[in-house]
Each structure stands twice: as C-alpha cells, then as structure tokens.
Symmetry: C2
Subunit: 347 residues, 2 copies
C-alpha cells in the first residue's frame, strides 16, 4: 500500500521551510550562521520530512567520507577483535563508520588498502599490525593516495608514522624475568610469525632479560610460532623430542601458550609441575584455562580507543607536525602456569 517514497533530500527540507538549500545546509552544519527564526523553521522541516544527509553527496563534494579503514591480520584472533571493538565504539562516538579489511593478502596488499583511499571510501587507515613491509607502507602515505595512517600495536623504527602500541620489549623482558626469579635457568621462547615486528620485539625483550641474567639460550629453545594455537602445539612436539629441555617457556602470545600446553598435556606433561609457561595478551580464556595462565595484560581497549582518537584527531585537525608515539604499559598477571623451579633429583 505504502508508496515507495524516495528518501527526502535537502531540497525537500528547503521547500518545506521556504528557504534555499544553502540555508538548510548552513543551519545544519554551522547553526550560528543562521538566524534563530529560520533555524527553528528548518529544524521543524527536518523533523517533518524525516531528512537524513546523503553521505555520498557530501563525500563527493567535501572529499571526505567520515569513514576509517581498519586493517587487521586476523580478525578471528580475539586480541585483535577486542581492539577493533574499542575502535568501533570510539569511531561511532565521533560519527565515523568503520570499514574492515582483514588479512589483506594477495600480490600487493598495500594496493588493496590503498584502493580504499583512491576510491575515496575512507579518510584514514588504522593498521593493526606490521605485516606490511616498510616500503609498502611508505607507498601508501605518498601521493596520490596519501593516506593518513596510524599504526597500532607495532612500531616501525625510524619511520614517520603515528604509532600507538604497548611496550613489548619491556613487557617481554618482564615476563622472562618472572621465570628467572622463580629459579628457572633454562628458558625457551615460542616466537611470533616471521617478518612481524611483534615477533622481533618480544624476542628481543626475552633475549635481553636472559642476557642480563647471564643465562644462555640454546638455539633449540627458540621455537618458531605464528601466534596461533597450532603453532604452539607444534612447538610442543618439538619440545618433547628434545634431550635438554628448558624448564620454562615464554610464549609470544596466549594462543601459542595454550596450544603448547595442550600438546604437552597429551604426552602427560603437566604445568606447572613439569614446566612453567608464560603467555602474552591476557585473553579472556587465560583466566579460565587450566592452569590459569600467567601472562602479560595489554591494555587492548585503551589501545584501540587511543588509536582511533589519534587518527580521527589527525583527520579533523589536519596533519600533525611530527609523528606521535604513544606507548602504553602492560601489566604482568601472575597466575598458576608458572611455579618455582625445583631441580629434579639427579641420578
């Protein structure tokens, strides 16, 4: 029955309020430029017609889409999705939409991201990891796309991007020292994926702490991982096959730690009786795992919120003179997956 009306335009509002579209536009975007009387008439007209802005038209004219693009390596990982949650909330608050681009793979990932800007679909990019290489990132920020960019989670050394991150090397060192303090001397590490900045930072923190304590790290004790449970599980198999096993392992994130523990348990090893394990991230499941995981809590919500704020500030306030570097501090959460080391009775 209902006639399929088109959505009302600014013309309809103007006609209803008996003013020009220019005045309507002004009344909506800078009310102080319009006299009180007309302002009221226009606001009535908006009400009456049920007007909403056509964002496409505005975008075309203003070259602004009120949308940010979030690039993530893997949205299924709850570490990232929690950050995305915070970003979305903050963006919505400031009137921005959030486009997601997950696992930008293919021949030229930066190109895929860049196209969002060339086609004017997004105003700025929030990148949640550094799996793009520096070259590609730089290309993004150059003409013609010239993407306003904030990199979260990771920092690219010497590069001129705004970054919001946590202090990974320090936190990794802290986690490692926690194991050392408990008497462990043979400590291994399951790394993040190759080519990832986080991998470097956490590994570096680990190595530094070991070094400072005067402890050796055998090459065997560095297990390759990729932040996913399966890789932790694979590390467990490797671990079990070793002759001279570490008595503790610092995993680059909670998921890896969980996979690792699960692999060990299958073969009858128990944590923390037989081995101590520290994770990283403090996912929700860390608290509820068996054993509850000792881990490093990253302020993920804060991180996402700050990253979004930073990006939107840049978009609205123009270009910052020099790249901002915001570093949040993580917090060590000690639970039951780590315990004091007691040397086995020697034969």
């Amino acid at each position: 029955m209902s006639i399929a009306r088109k959505t009302p335009t600014i013309q309809d509002v103007a006609r209803f309020a008996r003013v020009s579209t220019a005045t309507v536009s002004r009344a909506l975007s800078s009310p102080e430029r319009v006299s009180e009387g007309t302002r009221a008439r226009i606001s009535d007209a908006v009400e009456a017609t049920g007007y909403t802005l056509n964002q496409a038209a505005r975008s075309l004219r203003q070259r602004t889409s009120k949308t940010i693009l979030v690039g993530l390596p893997d949205i299924r990982n709850s570490f990232f999705s929690t950050i995305l949650d915070a970003i979305e909330r903050e963006a919505a608050l400031r009137g921005y939409g959030v486009l997601v681009c997950n696992r930008y793979s293919g021949p030229n990932p930066a190109r895929r991201l860049g196209e969002y800007f060339l086609s004017h679909r997004a105003d700025g990019l929030l990148l949640l990891d550094g799996s793009l290489d520096l070259e590609q990132l730089l290309e993004l920020t150059r003409e013609p796309s010239a993407v306003p960019l904030v990199v979260a989670c990771e920092e690219i050394p010497d590069a001129s991007f705004h970054t919001v991150k946590t202090d990974n090397p320090r936190a990794a060192a802290h986690a490692t020292r926690h194991l050392i303090d408990q008497g462990h001397t043979r400590i291994g590490h399951i790394t993040g994926p190759a080519g990832n900045v986080l991998r470097q930072e956490r590994l570096a923190g680990f190595m530094q702490a070991m070094d400072e304590a005067g402890l050796k790290v055998l090459p065997d004790w560095i297990f390759p991982g990729n932040f996913m449970m399966e890789s932790g599980y694979a590390a467990a198999l490797q671990y079990l096959a070793m002759a001279n096993r570490p008595s503790a392992v610092f995993a680059a994130n909670d998921e890896t730690a969980i996979g690792f523990l699960s692999g060990l348990r299958e073969q009858g090893l128990e944590c923390p009786r037989d081995i101590s394990v520290v994770g990283f991230d403090d996912l929700a499941v860390a608290l509820h795992y068996s054993p509850p995981l000792t881990t490093v809590r990253q302020p993920r919500e804060k991180l996402g919120q700050l990253a979004a704020q930073t990006l939107i500030n840049i978009l609205e306030g123009g270009v910052e003179a020099k790249p901002l570097r915001i570093v949040l501090t993580s917090e060590m959460i000690i639970r039951s997956s780590t315990a004091r080391y007691f040397p086995p009775p020697h034969s």
Copy 2:
C-alpha cells in the same frame, strides 16, 4: 618535493584517450559496448593516468554504495569474528566493502543501523543475531530505509526475512542425547542470554531430547548464562552449592562451558571424572582446552560465506520472491570432556 596531484578523474582519462567521459565510463563498466580500438586506448589511458573510480560519485549517481553493513552483538566473541572473517572475504571477492556495527545499543538500536541506509552508506544489512526485536527489524525493512536484510545465525519465526543459520534445536538435542547415551540421567543446561533466539533454540533442543528420553529436568538445573565465560563461572558456583547435582551439563556455547569448567576446577572437581560437559561452537580453543571439549561444530565459515553471498545476490539480482531459508547442519565433535557415567558407590 612532489606536487600534490589530485587523484585522476574520469575526465583525465577521457582527455588522455581523446574520447568523451561517457565512453570511458562505458568502456569500464560494459566493455562490449565500445569498439576494440577505443577500448584499448582507454585502457592505456587508465594505466597512464593511474585512474581509480571515485566511489562517492558513483554512489551518488547510482544510489548504490557497494558496501554491506554487518551488525554483530559482540565482535570479541570468536564465534562471531570467525563469521565476520568469512563475510569479509566473500564481500571483498565480489567488490564490496564491509562496514561493522558492533553492539548496537542505545535507546534505539534499529535506528542506528537504519541510519546507515538513510544516509546511503550501505546497500544491505547482514545481521548476526536477533537481539533486535521483531518490531524493530520490520521497521528497518519498511520505507523509507527499506533495507535489504539477511539474518544469520538466528531465525525469526514467521517473519519474512532471508535467513542463514544452523539447525540449533537439532544440534542441541544431539548434544544432549550424547550425554544420555553415556548413561547420564541428571543433566543440566547453561542457557544463552535472555531474549536471544539462540537461547530459545538450544534450550528447546535440550528439553526435547530430555523429554524424549523420559528424563526429568529440575528447574535448578537450568543455569542462566549469557555466552560469556564469566557466566559459566557463575553457573559453577551455583552448581557447587547444590545438593542434587546433575552429572552432566550441556552449555549453550564453548565459552560458557570453559568458564563453568574453570569454576569447578577451582573447587577440585574434575572433568570428565566428576562431571561431563558439552559445549557448542567448536572454537579453536575447544580442541586445546583441558580437557579437550566435546562440542558441536557449526560451519561458521560456510555460514558467513553463504550469508554474504545471499545478501549480495539479492542486492544485485533484485528482490527474491519469497524469503530464503538456508539451514546448515552442525556436526557433533566428541572429545574428552564427556565420559560414561558411573554411579557413585552409594553409602
């Protein structure tokens, strides 16, 4: 140094190829309408100028944004984020962008979603849960927003929406029967959040299976949950305080199951020795939990992919005559959190 060139427009391409913009537009969107020679010249010109379409301009003219909106209740939950992952992949393949709207709360959530359409930012809506009530949903599909809608995960009975979902009642009944088959007779259930369709369906399946087996369900044995770990943990406390405890529990999802098990373990109860637990979803962690969780695997990737395909087909092919109902079947995954029931030696 570099001059801040504007991004090239279709005018630039036209000038370069010495044709009109109309021809360029046609060459790009329906090449067969343009002669081979000019087509080649234009494609060279595109190459040379580095042209990319201005999506805002196209949106304005065509009243189409090539963007879909995904509404989710909680993106942090890896159940949803996995589906979103699949959606995003499928959408990208078909040239669509994905806007996310997480936890649409506030006074009028449907309004917030609807505004994306009124402002022409999205062409269609993919709703990943049914926490909106029917009234609000109906309002969305009416003029003036008239949103093409596909509801995933949940089905609203008697309503005329396209839906893609899994067979929850059946899967829930299946999970329950698995416990019954193992000799359990006193079986409890931790529900989903109030007002959620999934809660109803899984509860219904559970009740039906119990009923068919001639088993009673005490009111105490239905624990209120909300799909989050904390609620499972809370259920554990409730469970522990009970006199006549069930010997098995079917949790409405894996997260709840995990929280529940973690609460029990704190008090020294062990699974599956003291209790059998079945989850739902088969999250990655289910396999790596201790004990590995018996659960119901929902084809999440498939679900996301189908939902996205369905929506995009509708967007591109016009309106379907009658609402599509796609029901995927889930699969029971039996691991170690369930075991044969042995009655305790009676005193």
